[in-house]
Symmetry: C2
Subunit: 353 residues, 2 copies
Amino acid sequence: MTRAGHHASRTAAGSVPTIKHVAARAGVSTATVSRVLSGIDGVRPELRERVHAAVSELAYHPNRVARNLRVRTTRLIGLVISDIQNPFFTSVVRGIEDVLQRADYTLLLGNTDENLEREQVYLSTLRAEGVAGIILAPTGKSSGHYGHLLPIQLPVVAIDRAPAGLSADTVIVNNSAGSCAAVTHLIALGHQRIGCITGPPNLSTAEERKNGYAQALQARQLPLVDCLIRYADFRQSGGYAAMQALLELDEPPSAVFVANNLMTLGALQALHERGLQIPSHVAIVGFDDMSWATSLQPPLTAVAQPTYLLGTTAANLLLARLREPHRPVQQIVLDTKLMVRASCGAQQRFLAL
Amino acid sequence: MTRAGHHASRTAAGSVPTIKHVAARAGVSTATVSRVLSGIDGVRPELRERVHAAVSELAYHPNRVARNLRVRTTRLIGLVISDIQNPFFTSVVRGIEDVLQRADYTLLLGNTDENLEREQVYLSTLRAEGVAGIILAPTGKSSGHYGHLLPIQLPVVAIDRAPAGLSADTVIVNNSAGSCAAVTHLIALGHQRIGCITGPPNLSTAEERKNGYAQALQARQLPLVDCLIRYADFRQSGGYAAMQALLELDEPPSAVFVANNLMTLGALQALHERGLQIPSHVAIVGFDDMSWATSLQPPLTAVAQPTYLLGTTAANLLLARLREPHRPVQQIVLDTKLMVRASCGAQQRFLAL
DNA sequence: ATGAAAGCGCTAACAT
DNA sequence: ATGTTAGCGCTTTCAT
């Protein structure tokens, strides 16, 4: 690193140097160069030295594409998610990236936008690019869409959602327990009429979170009122509209559980626009604990998902399968944590005591 | 797509079929298969037909790694950013991804965490993987860190930040104009003592936003007070601490301009914790218009960056250079837009009239 | 219009 | 301990 070296001295034609150039310059065979660079021992220190010298003189960088072809695998991992703009996923991606990068893998990213066709396109591109494995937040409900990955033995780990019948390593979150805890908390605070804004019925996460809500009510003998349950689209506008609908009810809820981060934002907006106070008029508990939760007034009570952990767990699972292709398939369920702040009314309670 | 076909009929050994298998099955040469699949015409319809039949019978998928080696380029684009968790970047990524995906390129993602060393590692990995081009949000201040990319003719487009002396296509935002507009707005609202929380001095964006603040004050003959300018780290905790420091001043500001999204969140938190009202006690204008801005109470006035456009512009710039390597280097400066909502006090004003 | 064959840059038997 | 060589799967001259 002390001397840069003139690029003029690189190769005859000024083109990018290959292993052959290095071999020639060091006066050894390409096999020896390869051995030295792969850290295989059994090479005389002197030759080793000469190779290293040649490498740095020529500013040689091994061509991974050639290597990938030869060894019939790559250091690439495909990552297919449905919404790169959702903070939930970016935190997951961060976790994945952190462990993969340490293991010298690089991520090939695909954003499907919840579009099944786009997902299929990505999956086949990733396959064509020869990725060593795939981490996927599946859009499809059933395993049918992913069957073609199995014959080629491509390791896949599913995250966030578990398509029915897909026999692949999976890491998900205990959604129903999380929302059940949230709603139970609301009930304990004295609420009897609690609304629920959940996601599209075809997404397992939306379904599970709604189920947790229902469980909580049933456990306390509270009736399940149909009109208090709203299916929106997991986006801000959906949460906004759903909250408006809830508020226009003859008998609006005194508290509402919102099943994801973006919809919570929309719901809040609807409340503010009507000048309604949180939690005195309507108490709120959200799903997903975001960076902005503590900056709201009042701070948002929310079910925190272990997003970063979800990412690292998925990446480690994939790494493990890469090392050991025949290990038994694993499904890991991560726990959520209820972050009690003020939007549910808990703080007021304490003050009142 | 009507019949799945038995995989048993694929190849002799059950391994992944190659172009040779297809050629054999169709009774043509591999060259012809290649021509058909590349859409090169001059192949008799009959042979074309046979090739397609063989392809689907064998469920053949071309191996891009082999192709990449042969044609000495890839359909891969490297993307190196500093913080995948920052909504600013995810929106940019979305824009990039949308245009690249349509052009049949796939993204190789690297998250540097603002770490120069990690950035270097990624850059060399990307180079080794043979990416066709790179989109980079540079962490380094000067072009020195990127010089080695030039000799190999690797097209690079810089986004968000422009390292001094780097002669590469660039797309940035007019930061100083944006923050100047924000602060000017505050002044017009009657504020005389305005604080500024900006980012690390080594980041061009932080510097420019502070400059815009200073310009606005100077234009209206307002003094530049040192203790009102705080350098934080562009993260939530930094904004929180900076706002606290500002509030502890003997003469605290009546308004503050916060130079990025995450720090605004922290600043808001500090205000809430002290029970201070926005905008009556302290008016706030942020930089970056996020999805949560409208859900705050009061809604946040902020300088909106055209993030998605920034992404698509960068991607298109790269695509253009790929097509036309010797086109003149371009620097594109995108405009910001001040989204006036209530946190600056503008709404109150209107009400008071 | 089609095929034969070389070769992209590397690794891994195999031979010495 | 080191070198020779075949070949990964594809594209692309060059012949025919």
